[in-house]
């Protein structure tokens, strides 16, 4: 079946937002692997503002298909500026919806982006907890 990606998906595939790495990030999330054909790495820069942990900057690297790349791209846009709690709750359906839909068979690809962000937030929380405990 020819994949019928919409304009917005293609725009994010062509010009992924927030693609790249953050040097010395506050947190990193990595999910997927080469064997299953999709893998993502998320880099976070977190800032405390009014007592809240805000995602100040986010970058990603993705190995995967068009859907994987486009959902990572849009998800990073969606979470930027959000608190970690808010970001954690952005599910896969949100990214697909924000993209205006994905081919049915491709819906599974949108899981990975939110999982990668959750992994990065988990990483941040773990590090932070450790810091607190070590203080």
């Amino acid at each position: 079946m020819a994949m019928q990606y919409n304009e917005k998906v293609m725009e994010h595939f062509r010009h992924p937002r927030n693609m790249g790495v953050i040097e010395n990030p506050d947190a990193v999330g990595f999910v997927g692997n080469k064997t299953c054909g999709d893998a993502m790495k998320i880099f976070l820069r977190v800032e405390k503002r009014n007592g809240k942990n805000i995602i100040k900057d986010i970058k990603f690297q993705t190995y995967g298909c068009v859907s994987a790349i486009a959902t990572t791209s849009i998800t990073t846009e969606m979470v930027k500026g959000k608190t970690l709690d808010e970001a954690y709750n952005i599910g896969r359906a949100d990214a697909a919806r924000e993209l205006g839909g994905l081919p049915p068979i491709k819906m599974h690809c949108s899981n990975l982006a939110s999982e990668a962000i959750q992994a990065a937030i988990d990483d941040y929380r773990k590090k932070h907890k450790n810091i607190k405990e070590n203080v």
Partner: protein, 381 residues
């Protein structure tokens, strides 16, 4: 933007002359071959001429060409038709792990109906071993089906040797020649072939037309029952325009076209292998389809690469899981021993009779760029 079509193994443009040959059979000589009157006779004359011409190409003196709706129908017909008609003789069928889905899925269906199927392995270049083949033959083997050339990696199988072995053991031999027909010589008699599948849309003919050559005397049951057209082998009003187009396409395939495909293929292979961490799947030289180039690129996912190239106007295909409905990487790439991550990064380019050197150069440039961009995007790059 110039658009460059390098997916001729998937399907081809209908040649303008082929369309011209078909046209009268749509609007003027549009009759039903089964009719008694002049329109019927005109249709029958045209279809029989097409049948003779196509049959001549493959030295089919002892064979009948039965027209079908395409390669998939022909393969289903061959496997199921032989199985059902010869099940008193035995219930074992031999095929390979790298057949087209239609052979594999027809075989699986037969397994559910009480047949026993052996799927032969292939080596890293995709070749079936004649020794394995001979070793798989049992007393109750009725049919062996081995493709002439593989649609993904272009391997040309040693059908002459296999056919000979099959016949020595009184096993019927079928070959799926959808990819090779008119491009790689085949001789139904010398190659000991009892049944051969061909189709039209891979050689600049129309879609929805194919055929099955059947050696006279072979017992086979129809797949489509009905009015008894095509010598009783395949019922349904015969698609005369399509058949005339198919014959014209066969006639038009000339040595120079094949030489061009081959030359362009080789330019592509040479250039693509200069890219870092790339490799060729399938064999080199004589034993490779003249129009097939199949590469792997490390750290690349095939669908993303195909769409990247598509944005640059280039058409190619991939065996990546992401591009398939099953979300499994290509069974062919798995069978030649690629790891899943290698299979994901595979791309097939298939050249055509109209492919130019300039198109190949542009494609190589685009390919280099796309691979670089995607690798940069990747956490493994």
């Amino acid at each position: 933007m110039e658009r460059i079509y390098l997916d001729n193994a998937a399907t081809t443009r209908v040649d303008a002359e082929v369309l011209k040959a078909m046209e009268p059979y749509f609007t003027d000589d549009f009759g039903n071959m089964a009719s008694l009157h002049a329109w019927g006779r005109e249709a029958e004359t045209a279809a029989d001429k097409a049948r003779r011409e196509i049959t001549k190409k493959v030295n089919g003196k002892e064979h009948r060409l039965v027209f079908t709706s395409g390669g998939t129908e022909s393969n289903n017909f061959a496997l199921k038709g032989i199985a059902f008609a010869n099940r008193e003789k035995g219930r074992h069928i031999i095929t390979t792990k790298i057949e087209h889905d239609c052979v594999l899925n027809a075989s699986r269906w037969l397994e559910k109906r009480g047949f026993d199927v052996t799927y032969l392995p292939v080596d890293r270049e995709g070749f079936v071993s004649p020794d394995d083949f001979a070793g798989a033959i049992r007393k109750d083997t009725i049919l062996a089906s081995v493709m002439h050339a593989n649609n993904e990696i272009g391997t040309i199988e040693p059908v002459r040797e296999l056919g000979k072995i099959a016949h020595e053991h009184d096993v019927l031999f079928h070959t799926d020649a959808c990819q090779s027909f008119t491009k790689v010589p085949i001789d139904l008699r010398k190659d000991s072939i009892d049944l051969m599948t061909v189709n039209s849309h891979k050689i600049y003919g129309p879609k929805g037309v194919g055929g099955l050559f059947i050696r006279q005397g072979v017992r086979i049951e129809p797949l489509l029952h009905g009015g008894g057209q095509e010598f009783g082998y395949r019922s349904g009003t015969v698609n005369v325009a399509g058949i005339v187009g198919f014959a014209k396409a066969v006639d038009m395939m000339k040595e120079k076209h094949i030489r061009n495909m081959e030359k362009m293929r080789d330019l592509l292979i040479e250039g693509a292998l200069e890219i870092d961490k790339s490799w060729l799947n399938g064999p080199r030289g004589e034993k490779r389809l003249p129009n097939n180039a199949h590469f792997g690129f490390e750290h690349i996912e095939g669908e993303a690469l195909i769409i990247h190239l598509d944005l640059k106007g280039i058409a190619a295909s991939t065996g990546s899981a992401c591009s398939s409905k099953s979300l499994e990487p290509s069974h062919v790439l798995t069978a030649i021993g690629l790891r899943p991550e290698q299979a994901h990064g595979s791309v097939r380019f298939s050249t055509g009779k109209e492919t130019t050197k300039e198109q190949i150069e542009y494609t190589l440039e685009a390919l280099r760029e796309s691979v670089e961009t995607l690798r940069k995007m990747s956490p493994f790059g």
